[in-house]
């Protein structure tokens, strides 16, 4: 099976989700006597590209046309489809990041390929081709069989380990022959929340709800997150009231996340909230109400006032970091 994996870079650097995707692709290639080729789009140093060999890619197809310096779904999907055809790929793997989500379906439509997003399993290939994804925002899983000769799957970040499987990796520069008219959308300005850990990629998330009483109390949440290298999140009412930006809202109508640790402080655990966070590996709940539904979904719990518990946690976390 020829496998093509999109090696997404952000401003010339690979993120963990990219290495996860390459490791995932290499593992499927190994199981199916296939090849693992990575495709890179935009400006990135060749030394960085060779790094993909560490995770099992034997070839990198690199597209560096000037036009591709900025992400646009219509151009990136054309280029990746070009790579897929060039490499006779039967399976195209993309990480389900915001950019990944915007190109995966376009690639599928170009290649007339079946597509499944939100994938959390290695494909089962003994009989047919089946993958597992989360549905109902994490309330359940679905097994999906794909029928087309070419398939596109987008995998959920934090679902697969980054594994080293060193290979010699050859870089080939390609040109898909795009012209300016291929790019219709024009990026005007990009603002990144610098210095902050991206919520969808975070391994540890400290989240808080209405129990925090008001935005002025969030310094405690931020301090704890800072010490633990965590991202911050919140419940829906908190972002609805503008205590926190909507990008922190997790749940069925917000972001679905899957960190190793999700700590919920002053959040009741409504079904819509749980939907977005229940796939977290370990859940800690801090709530003053022992009857809060969230405790039923938790691994560890503290029944107590957040304003009393948080200072203790911050102290302990500081001590822990000092060693």
């Amino acid at each position: 099976m020829n496998i093509l994996v999109f090696a997404e870079n952000t401003d010339g650097n690979f993120k963990k989700s990219t290495f996860e995707a390459v490791s995932y692709a290499a593992q499927i290639a190994k199981q199916n006597n296939g090849t693992c080729t990575a495709v890179s789009v935009g400006n990135i140093a060749d030394e960085k590209l060779t790094e993909l060999g560490k995770y099992g890619a034997t070839k990198v197809l690199s597209y560096k046309q000037e036009l591709l310096g900025k992400f646009a779904a219509e151009t990136y999907s054309k280029v990746i489809s070009h790579a897929a055809q060039n490499d006779n790929a039967e399976l195209v793997i993309i990480s389900n990041t915001y950019s990944g989500k915007s190109i995966a379906p376009r690639i599928a439509a170009r290649l007339k390929a079946g597509i499944v997003t939100g994938v959390i399993s290695i494909p089962q290939t003994e009989t047919g081709f089946k993958v597992r994804r989360t549905v109902f925002s994490g309330k359940s899983f679905a097994d999906i069989e794909m029928f087309t000769p070419v398939k596109v799957i987008a995998i959920t970040p934090n679902s697969f380990a980054v594994e080293e499987m060193p290979q010699t990796c050859i870089i080939t520069q390609l040109d898909a022959g795009l012209t300016n008219s291929d790019q219709v959308t024009r990026s005007v300005e990009i603002t990144r929340n610098s210095g902050k850990i991206v919520l969808t990629e975070a391994e540890v998330v400290i989240s808080a709800g209405r129990g925090m009483k008001g935005p002025e109390n969030w310094h405690m949440i931020e301090e704890l997150a800072d010490i633990l290298g965590a991202a911050t999140a919140c419940s829906k009412p908190v972002s609805d009231m503008d205590w926190r930006p909507h990008t922190e809202h997790v749940g069925q109508t917000g972001i679905t996340i899957k960190p190793n640790l999700y700590m919920a402080i002053g959040i009741s655990g409504a079904i819509q909230h749980l939907a977005g966070v229940s796939s977290s590996k370990v859940i800690v709940v801090i709530n003053k109400d022992a009857e809060a539904p969230f405790f039923k979904a938790a691994d560890y719990g503290i029944v107590g006032d957040a304003f009393e518990v948080l200072p203790k946690l911050i102290e302990a976390a500081k001590a822990f970091k000092r060693g």
Binding site: F136, E145, M146, R186, T253
Partner: protein, 245 residues
């Protein structure tokens, strides 16, 4: 301006999900269905845009007769007319092919979808449609203004935001923050009864994937409780026992 809004009919967010037929079918018994919340935002935004500069808003749904209440609700909220493509929405690819076949000859300036449906969470229809129609698709937009066929938009990107421009026609998917959903009023509900709702038969297309089964996540074991006095010990437990920090 002619706007098309894609509407999906989904189980209410409070639904306790369960399955039938040996875990191969969603159990819709007693489940309340609603317009997908993100689609509701897309619809409201379409109305705001056309109210400002004139135009029509068509709501489109791929579904069997049972989805008609959702389509009527879209009309009650304010859509000018509606189309229901009379087919079981087999998978996202199939849905996009159906909507694409309808939209191809209708010259819409803008097609809006929700960022994802809250049941199958695919988030694929916007991109599939864009490619099938040969126009751009812009995911997770949080703001949009259109003037003389030129749109200024903002969208979420990984760890930030992007401002971009695009000329019509294009597809965009609605993210929270785009607007506040509108609740239909009595007049809207009355008017919806007489607004055109066209039922169109599907074009031939075949689904290229199939759900073979569902499974519920494993139940959590017992929650280990820690007293407030011992709260600080949680950090050590998370490091030594849970091994997550």
């Amino acid at each position: 301006m002619k706007v098309l809004v894609c509407i999906s009919n989904v189980p209410d967010t409070t639904t306790k999900v369960s399955f039938t037929e040996n875990n191969t079918k969603f159990n819709s018994q007693g489940v309340q269905f609603i317009i997908n919340p993100y689609d509701e935002l897309a619809l409201t935004k379409a109305l705001e845009l056309t109210e400002k500069q004139g135009g029509t808003v068509t709501a489109i749904n791929v579904g069997l007769a049972e989805t008609e209440p959702a389509v009527r609700k879209a009309l009650a909220i304010g859509a000018t007319d509606a189309v229901r493509i009379n087919a079981e929405p087999a998978d996202a690819y199939y849905v996009a092919e159906q909507i694409g076949a309808y939209a191809k000859n209708e010259n819409f300036d803008l097609i809006l979808t929700g960022r994802e449906s809250i049941d199958y969470n695919g988030g694929m229809v916007a991109g599939l449609l864009g490619e099938m129609l040969g126009i751009p698709s812009i995911n997770v937009i949080t703001s949009i203004e259109i003037e003389n066929g030129m749109a200024k938009l903002e969208r979420d990107i990984d760890g930030g935001r992007e401002k971009l421009e695009c000329k019509t026609p294009f597809v965009a998917s609605a993210q929270k923050d785009l607007t506040e959903p509108r609740i239909p009023n009595m007049r809207g509900i009355m008017a919806a009864r007489t607004k055109p709702l066209k039922v169109v038969e599907p074009t031939t297309a075949s689904a290229n994937s199939k759900i073979t089964g569902f499974e519920m996540p494993a139940a959590k074991g017992v929650c280990k409780m820690i007293s407030v006095d011992e709260a600080g010990s949680l950090i050590g437990i998370l490091h030594n026992e849970a091994k997550v920090i």
